[in-house]
């Protein structure tokens, strides 16, 4: 099932499938470790469309809500 990062529940793990953004966003996310085929887990999500914290390669990254919506993830539920 493909969902975006904001729809993942804290504690869930999935695989990044697609980043629906411009070249700039893509580069920034990639260079921080978020890119297709990477394992990603959700740590927390903040109220009122706040930032989403994820973990990739043992490193936690805070991603703004709008950006997080552009990151599609495959999760087994």
């Amino acid at each position: 099932m493909f969902i975006d990062l904001t729809q993942m529940q804290p504690g869930e793990t999935g695989i990044v499938k697609e980043i629906q953004g411009g070249h700039g966003l893509m580069r920034r996310l990639q260079s921080m470790g978020i890119r297709p085929s990477k394992k990603i887990s959700k740590v927390s999500s903040h109220f009122w469309r706040g930032p989403q914290t994820v973990e990739v390669d043992n490193i936690q990254i805070a991603v703004g809500f709008g950006m997080a919506r552009k990151i599609l993830v495959e999760v087994e539920r």
Partner: protein
């Protein structure tokens, strides 16, 4: 022969720690991405030669996305030998920059930093194999303890120019994937207590109470240490040791003498009064050393601990939502927190923000809404005598103003605030020696840069008084001072000195026999109408003349309005 060495790497991999190891130079090191926003230069002896070493701000790519990264990219283009510092606990992502460097025409050597962290994180890396893959020397290091630094220096001559053919991002990632698979093994391990704490402080339900708790504790510790130092050490030193000496000097010089006026100042009821005499050796030393320094000490001690622990980026995530209303994202909280200490590093730190609009808002809000520690200490010292509630009132007004100004600027300025995207470093137990070193750097910075300005300010005011220039300005500004703000016209001297130093300026309200209301209005205006000259120079450098003038216009308008409003309401 090596002429110039660049320390290049992702943010928060410990470049500054290695820089400090190599050069012996003192630089600020913290546990959050974006500590270094400007390059720092140092020198190192390499055999007979002296080599220049440059600590480059952290960057993920050689194509800049913000000003700090832009500095980094330009430095690399200028050439030299690159020590690529990579975080051993995060090999994959760090290697991307390494591959970019290997495609450039500069010699590269790799320092596999934070090597000590790999062991308890269950990561093992085959350094020999990594070296084979990259084709340049790879040396495990630990900047904080100094492990591996000697070997790094010894092997500098082995650095190689690879000039690999340019490849696309995806080709690089594919290559990195293969390398990492071969050289790195991860073993499963249990969550540590620190990691449990990491999770708790980033989840909203537990994170917000933790944040409030930390801020509350930080506030009380700063206050407790600051007050303790003043009451038990600095005030007794001044009154018991320094005062008797000054009394002798005063008698020797004779009151009414010009030198007496400059050095000792006015005698209040026949005595030297450290708060009101306003001589170079009396108030001029008492304000910076006995009133401000203790708070600078306690503030930077607490800040240093929080920085090194790695808490600040978590706070940034928690306040992100709120900051968006002010046209900023959460990471802008870091310049603000630094600005509470001194606005000069505060304004500089706005470089970690991506867009010009954001930088403008952050710098403007800081320049007119965030009082620096020198100013806070003086307000606490002076207004606090009339009751803690009045101190709280001033800070409440400043805080509300900050929010209102943010809300308005966010509405008025075109564009939207960009979203946060930041790496959250793991918690690390602060090393006492590192914290103390950083504290000492900041304290000596205050003594070297602020103390002379304070003395200059006091001297300046005395001369202005003697030459009757103050009277002229007082006459000129009476309509505003008295008419709008309800202050005596003598308060102009505080406003004049306020351009130079805020602590002296607030101190100058002391001898004016102001009512409590006037004191509150005066202190608030001093925080609003203009930042100190040092901050202003940095503002011009960071924002450019045009934006700085815009910002100045806002400052003056706000000061006029709020001064009048407080005068009417209180």
């Amino acid at each position: 022969m090596i002429e110039k060495i660049l320390l290049v790497g992702n943010p928060n991999v410990g470049k500054s720690a290695i820089f400090s190891r190599l050069t012996g130079a003192k630089v600020i090191i913290s546990n959050y991405p974006g500590t270094t926003v400007e390059f720092t230069q140092g020198k190192m002896k390499l055999g007979e030669e002296t080599v220049m070493i440059i600590d480059v701000p952290g960057t993920y790519t050689l194509e800049a996305t913000c000003k700090a990264e832009d500095v980094a990219c330009r430095m690399v283009k200028e050439g030299g030998l690159a020590i690529n510092i990579i975080d051993a606990t995060n090999l994959e992502r760090n290697l991307h920059l390494t591959l970019q460097l290997l495609e450039d025409d500069i010699p590269v050597i790799v320092a596999l930093n934070m090597w000590d962290d790999t062991k308890h994180r269950g990561i093992s890396i085959d350094v020999k194999k990594l070296e084979e893959h990259l084709g340049v020397p790879v040396i495990p290091t630990c900047g904080l303890t100094g492990e591996g630094i000697k070997e790094l220096i010894n092997r500098l001559p082995e650095a190689k120019v690879k000039s690999l053919p340019a490849s696309s991002d995806s080709q690089k990632w594919e290559k990195i994937g293969k390398i990492v698979e071969e050289v790195q093994k991860l073993t499963h391990r249990h969550h540590t207590l620190l990691e449990a704490l990491e999770d708790l402080s980033i989840k909203p339900l537990t994170g917000l109470p933790i944040a409030l708790g930390i801020i509350y504790c930080a506030f009380w510790v700063v206050r407790f240490i600051g007050e303790g130092l003043i009451g038990h050490i600095f005030e007794p030193l001044f009154t018991k040791l320094w005062l008797p000496l000054l009394m002798k000097l005063s008698v020797f010089l004779g009151e009414g003498n010009f030198l007496h006026h400059i050095l000792i100042g006015n005698l209040i009821e026949g005595k030297i009064n450290f708060g009101q005499s306003f001589g170079l050796l009396t108030t001029g030393l008492f304000v910076p050393l006995a009133m401000v320094l203790p708070y600078i000490f306690s503030f930077y001690l607490v800040l240093g601990l929080l920085e090194d622990f790695g808490y600040l980026p978590r706070l940034a995530v928690l306040v992100d939502n709120f900051m968006h209303h002010l046209g900023l994202h959460g990471y802008a909280i870091i310049p603000f927190i630094l600005g509470l200490g001194c606005k000069v590093p505060g304004v500089l730190a706005t470089r970690i923000l991506e867009e010009r609009r954001e930088k403008f808002i952050a710098a403007t809000l800081m320049a007119i809404g965030v009082p620096c520690m020198a100013q806070i200490a003086m307000i606490v010292g002076l207004v606090g005598q009339r009751g803690g509630g009045y101190v709280a009132l001033i800070f409440l007004v400043l805080f509300l103003l900050l929010i209102i100004k943010g809300l308005v600027l966010n509405r008025v300025l075109k564009g939207v605030s960009p979203e946060i995207l930041v790496e959250i470093p793991p918690y690390r137990i602060p090393q006492i020696t590192a914290v103390m070193k950083k504290l000492w750097m900041r304290l000596s910075g205050f003594l070297k840069e602020a103390l002379p300005l304070v003395l200059l300010g006091v001297l300046f005011v005395n001369i202005l008084y003697t030459l009757k220039i103050v009277d002229f300005f007082a006459y000129l500004f009476t309509p505003i001072l008295t008419g709008l703000w309800g202050l005596p016209k003598e308060a102009i001297s505080a406003l004049i000195v306020g351009f130079l130093r805020k602590d002296v300026a607030v101190g100058m309200l002391g001898p004016l026999n102001l009512s409590t209301k006037q004191l509150v209005v005066g202190s608030t205006i001093l925080a609003l109408y203009f930042p100190c000259i040092a901050t202003y120079i940095v503002l011009i450098r960071e924002l450019g003349i045009k934006d700085t003038l815009k910002s100045t216009g806002i400052m003056i308008t706000v000061a006029l309005m709020i001064g009048t409003l407080l005068n009417i309401l209180l």
